[in-house]
Amino acid sequence: MAAPSLLRGGLRRLFTGLFGTGWASPPTRALREVMEVTEGNTTTIEGRIIEDAQAPAPPNPSGQCPICRWNLKHKYDYVDVLLLSQFIRSDGGMLPRRITGLCLEEHKKIAVCVQMAHRAGLLPNHRPPLPEGHIPKKHKLNREIPPRFPSCFIQTTHLCSWSLGILFFVQDPAILKGASRALR
């Protein structure tokens, strides 16, 4: 059929002219927050760009991946959801390595910890969107992850405790030494 192919060819040429050479994605915009302000008769609705607050400097800036930069190698577990939630999407999947900057082994470890956290029910709001009309099961069974070693043998170094503040925010070496000794 000659006519539809001609039409399709014409349309494609139109689109390539619009976006430049190749099939590039439309330009991305930063995340904006919608603000609505009413002053008398005028209502102003504007989108303000959300600026991320300045993060504190990592203790080891020469590290290659975020885990090495913050000296968290071998220090986290599946219960540290505050750390794990930084590497997941809203539906619970992992973010790609080229975006987060993790090295391969840490990316795999974090992926395993995220899986364990999902299984233990620690990330209840990071669920995949269900299709419409889906009736969820009435019962929800709890699952737990048993400790790898009995707690009497190992001292846990969970980050989500008071020690985190000392590790991250206190740069005085004397206090840091005391904190690391206490952790051990």
Binding site: L122, P124, L141
Partner: protein, 223 residues
């Protein structure tokens, strides 16, 4: 009353440094200045009557245990200790010194691994063709207290006292307890497993205080 409630009366010890007048005084009671540990224990126990001490030692206590997000095996281990009375220094298997245990939230127990799908509870009605096997999930949906009940029953010693001890076990699927049992409760048994905090249980301040370990690029669209 205080003098009568003292420990066993001891003859006064001879203290050569003091005069003969003090040596003739009866020893014992909180007034004595002897640094002996037995005298100190006697002075401490002097605050209870004999009846109160007997009651505290031999009374049957009621304990509470919250089974929320706990593995049923560990729950049963703590329960069986109390039901037998092994947590008491006066324990003897024949003394019937066990206590009552009330377990709440049995509906919210947590199995590890794939036990919800793989653990099988078997029973036989006694009639031919009456062999029934149900998974832990099916049993839990049918009766939310059955798993904990069976676990405790199988962990108790296999003697005639087991049934008596099971009568002293009270299971409730949620945290709704009858008022008369609630009035009897003495102490809560600590949970055997430390339950990790979920992400929605953290306050926004704690989440904001945790540093961001990586900064997304400017054109990153968070989905």
């Amino acid at each position: 009353m205080a003098a009568a409630a003292n420990g066993p009366r001891r003859p006064p010890l001879h203290r050569p440094s003091q005069g003969s007048a003090s040596a003739s005084r009866r020893c014992g009671g909180p007034g004595a200045a002897l640094p002996l540990p037995s005298a100190a224990a006697g002075a401490a126990m002097a605050s209870y009557t004999k009846a109160a001490q007997q009651w505290a030692t031999f009374a049957r206590a009621w304990y509470l245990l919250d089974a929320k997000m706990q593995p049923p095996g560990k729950i049963a281990a703590a329960t069986v200790m109390r039901l037998e009375g092994r947590h008491k220094p006066i324990y003897h298997a024949l003394s019937d010194c066990g206590d009552h245990v009330v377990i709440i939230n049995t509906r919210h127990i947590a199995f590890s691994g794939n036990k919800w799908e793989q653990k099988v509870y078997s029973s036989h009605t006694g009639y031919p063709g009456g062999f029934k096997q149900v998974t832990a999930t099916q049993l839990h949906l049918k009766d939310p207290t059955a798993i904990v009940k069976l676990t405790v029953y199988r962990m108790l010693p296999k003697n005639l006292q087991r049934r008596t001890m099971m009568q002293r076990l009270h299971l409730f699927p949620d945290d709704v307890i009858p008022e008369d049992i609630q009035n009897n409760l003495l102490q809560e048994i600590p949970q055997p497993r430390v339950v990790p905090r979920r992400l929605d249980e953290y306050t926004p301040e704690e989440i904001a205080a945790f540093p961001k370990v990586w900064i997304p690029p400017k054109d990153f669209r968070r989905r």
